[in-house]
């Protein structure tokens, strides 16, 4: 028995996870856990938590849970970034050693892409898409909850790696042979593949769900060409997800087979083809960057029209360009590995296809500027992010064109120039857009605005912090500094620029602190949104109260024009003047614990497989199958809200006549 315990302790807590940073994190995790449990018990909130949140299928609540998860992950990924930057500012006295540095940059990239950007996007999809198209929920509400819990437990699996068993350390791209068993035997990479596989199932289901939602759930009269741009971005993003995630799943599963079952798809020995992994990964990876940026294009299209008080310029062209970006996104993936040496024919083809994407993207940039032209611009925080996005993203795009030039790429590949480029588009594009969307839809989620003054502080800190961090990195790249090094010799002329870059990183850290403070402050003191339309909005989500009632729309509106709510306001119409006899009994999805249990069962499978404890895997798999079978025969998946009850709620909100 004691030998068994010894085995367990050695496996779960190897030397890797007993460094001061990890032990410090252990203390914080346990302390936070104890505080949460204490508060929930003290306030008797456990049942509330289970009934209202863990079992919910309401798209608005799922959106809020995604948002909380994304902000928590932004914190984790940000702390990782600060650790990396601290090390690079002090090359003579590294704070963390090479192995830990590898683990931290791997976790930073993985978390920021898969567990921060993706859930943040799904948060805004969930919150805004059904409301914008005048629907009562998404097409498959239970599937939506399953998506969330698979994501959440997948994220949990990756996040416990650094305190239990050891982190992955082969980069967020997880190339073989770094991930091969021959060179990397710990559980870290198993954690990586399994967490991405589990979260990937959830993401694929989200893609299917929102594709069907947009195509089938729109309010009567909302033809495709009357949809808000954000809905177009949700549609194209969903299509990208459905095509892009299968190659990732295949690549992850094959790598996992190589590690667990002795296959040799990507090994160096036995005829494995490591380059095929690279091909499969980027077959996913390139559409992925559009998955995280197209929704942001949609958000900016809404934000710029609302705060310029002017219809979006060139709507039709915007639609054509977003659809062309979607199609072109599939034809560019080789630009991530020009240096693999596939030959001039291949490289020239993919270099040109990459440059081609700049055309529709440029069209969009001009259209946003023309939307502002002659408009009455309100400098809200959401709009500030939009204004900062345009120049930042243009520079990021231009450096992308430089990298797409094959001969230049042979020089710039894997240097800090590349790092600066993709942070330029991912922070200047994705993160700025997501924060803009968060500020824009916050009143609709919570019923109050975020404090604008504090928001502007956070914005300026983010903006300058970003440029101070990544401006110098372009220069470092040109000076030949490669990525993923934990220290460097003196005399290369890299030190000063690295110190400046690190200062910028801490400025962005300060921006995050201000942001969180502002969120907490606004929960108490935020300006209440009593009208449901705090920004003088244009689309249907602003036609209903904030926060939206459970059923969203007491009556589904009829759409006649693009920018339906703006059109109604121009004609003096409202959705808030219904008569009692207009009320109908509404059918809504019923809460269910199945998604949560399914996610948990997948977590058990993932955890067991990470350590190759097959009995635990079998137990978890049994749980997965049982939950799915139970769900398949659970016909009691709807509930009804009686017309009288709808009337009572609407009257309480002052939205009923007579």
């Amino acid at each position: 028995m004691p030998s068994f315990v010894l085995y367990l302790v050695r496996t779960l807590f190897p030397h890797d996870v007993l460094r001061p940073t990890e032990l410090g994190a252990d203390v914080m995790i346990v302390a936070t856990g104890v505080i949460i449990v204490y508060v929930l018990t003290k306030q008797k909130k456990w049942l509330y938590l289970w009934r209202e949140w863990l079992t919910t299928v309401d798209h608005k609540k799922i959106g809020i849970m995604y948002l909380i998860a994304a902000l928590a992950m932004l914190f984790r990924g940000g702390v990782d970034a600060l650790m990396l930057r601290t090390n690079l500012a002090l090359p003579n006295t590294p704070v963390i050693d090479a192995l830990e540095y590898n683990q931290v940059f791997t976790t930073h990239g993985t978390i920021m892409i898969f567990f921060m950007a993706m859930p943040f996007i799904f948060a805004l999809f969930n919150v805004a898409v059904p409301l914008m198209i005048g629907a009562r929920d998404v097409a498959f509400p239970r599937l939506n909850a399953m998506s969330f819990w698979l994501f959440a437990f997948g994220a949990l699996l990756l996040n416990i790696a650094f305190v239990i068993g050891g982190s992955p350390d082969a980069g967020w791209t997880a190339y073989p042979p770094y991930t091969g068993l021959a060179f990397n035997s710990g559980p870290g990479e198993n954690y990586f593949f399994l967490s991405l596989l589990i979260a990937g199932i959830g993401t694929t289901m989200t893609g299917i769900n929102f594709l069907v939602t947009v195509l089938r759930m729109r309010a009567p009269g909302m033809t495709l060409m009357k949809m808000p741009m954000f809905i177009w971005s949700a549609l194209t993003t969903s299509a990208l997800i459905i095509f892009a995630f299968p190659p990732l799943t295949v690549a992850m599963a094959m790598s996992l087979f190589d590690r667990l079952f002795g296959s040799s798809f990507f090994t160096l020995a036995h005829g494995g083809l490591a380059m095929m992994y690279v091909n499969l990964f980027w077959l996913f990876g390139h559409p992925e960057v559009y998955i995280v940026v197209l929704p942001v294009f949609g958000i900016f299209s809404e934000v710029v029209a609302t705060f310029s008080q002017k219809a979006l310029f060139g709507y039709t062209v915007m639609v054509i360009s977003i659809v062309s970006i979607m199609v072109l996104a599939y034809g560019t993936w080789v630009h991530h590995f020009f240096t693999m040496g596939a030959g001039p024919g291949v490289n020239a083809f993919f270099g040109l296809s990459t440059m081609l994407i700049a055309i529709p993207t440029g069209v969009k940039i001009f259209n946003w500027i023309f939307t502002m032209w002659g408009g009455r611009i309100q400098m809200t925080v959401a709009m500030l992010y939009q204004m900062a996005f345009i120049p930042t993203f243009v520079i990021g795009g231009a450096t992308g064109i430089l990298l797409a030039t094959v001969p230049a790429d042979y020089q710039l590949h894997n240097t800090y120039f590349l790092i600066a480029h993709f942070h330029n588009v991912l922070i200047g594009g994705t993160l700025f857009g997501l924060l803009s969307g968060m500020y824009y839809w916050w009143p609709k989620m919570f019923g109050h605005k975020l404090n604008e003054r504090q928001g502007k502080w956070a914005f300026w800190l983010f903006f300058w912090g970003f440029w101070i961090t990544f401006g110098p990195q372009y220069l470092l790249g040109l000076k030949g500094m490669t990525r993923r090094i934990y220290t460097y010799p003196a005399g290369f002329g890299w030190h000063t620029l690295n110190v400046i870059s690190t200062v910028g990183a801490f400025v962005m850290g300060a921006a995050f602190v201000v942001l969180v403070y502002s969120v907490v402050y606004s929960l108490q003191h935020g300006e209440k949104d009593l009208t449901g339309d705090p920004w003088n909005g244009r689309t249907l989500e602003w036609a209903i109260p904030s926060p939206a009632p459970e059923y969203n729309f007491a009556r589904i509106p009829v759409v006649h024009e693009r920018d339906a709510w703006w059109d109604m306001k121009q004609k003096g119409q409202t959705l808030a003047s219904m008569r009692p006899e207009d009320m109908r009994t509404l059918e809504l999805p019923r809460n269910t614990p199945i998604p949560f249990l399914l996610g948990f069962a997948f977590f058990v499978v993932g955890f067991g497989m990470t350590f190759e404890w097959w009995y635990i895997v079998a137990l978890g798999a049994l749980g997965v199958v049982a939950t799915l079978i139970y769900s398949g025969f659970d016909y009691d998946e709807h509930k009804h809200i009686a017309a009288t009850e709808v009337l009572e709620i609407e009257a309480g909100l002052g939205r009923v006549q007579g």
């Binding site: 380059m275 091909n279 599939y330 040496g341 596939a342 589904i556 009994t585 009686a642 017309a643």
Partner: protein, 126 residues
């Protein structure tokens, strides 16, 4: 107050909030006592999968023939999945679906074809 407390979207006389009949929206689900088609489809997809696996693992054919055969099997697999599990024969508006299916075909052929093209390089660094 509401006349219809009972909400039955599947009924023949179901209407939406505007009083329009929803009957035309109902998909034509093939209803059977027991899902034999799906079971045979499942068995068929397993057969196709294992056929490809065995062909590759046992090196039965020379490379070019092997590649052609497993690609053919893959196309058969895709057709089977679409026909049996994706309810493609039961939908309204097949014409619309053909546009999207054509798109899917283009993407699929593009991804597979270009991957083969990319991976045919033989030299070292060019």
């Amino acid at each position: 107050m509401s006349q219809r407390l009972e909400f039955r979207p599947e009924a023949d006389d179901a209407v939406n909030d505007e009083g329009e009949a929803l009957r035309f929206m109902r998909p034509h689900f093939g209803e059977e006592k027991f899902p034999w088609v799906q079971i045979w489809g499942y068995v068929g997809s397993l057969v196709l999968t294992f056929a490809a696996l065995i062909l590759v693992v046992d090196h039965v054919l020379p490379p070019l023939a092997l590649l052609s055969v497993i690609l053919t099997l893959a196309v058969g697999q895709a057709a089977l999945q679409l026909g049996v599990f994706m309810h493609i024969r039961e939908s309204r508006g097949l014409a619309w679906q053909m546009i999207f299916l054509g798109m899917v075909l283009l993407m699929g052929v593009g991804m597979v074809g270009m991957s083969i093209w990319i991976m045919t390089f033989k030299s070292g660094v060019s």
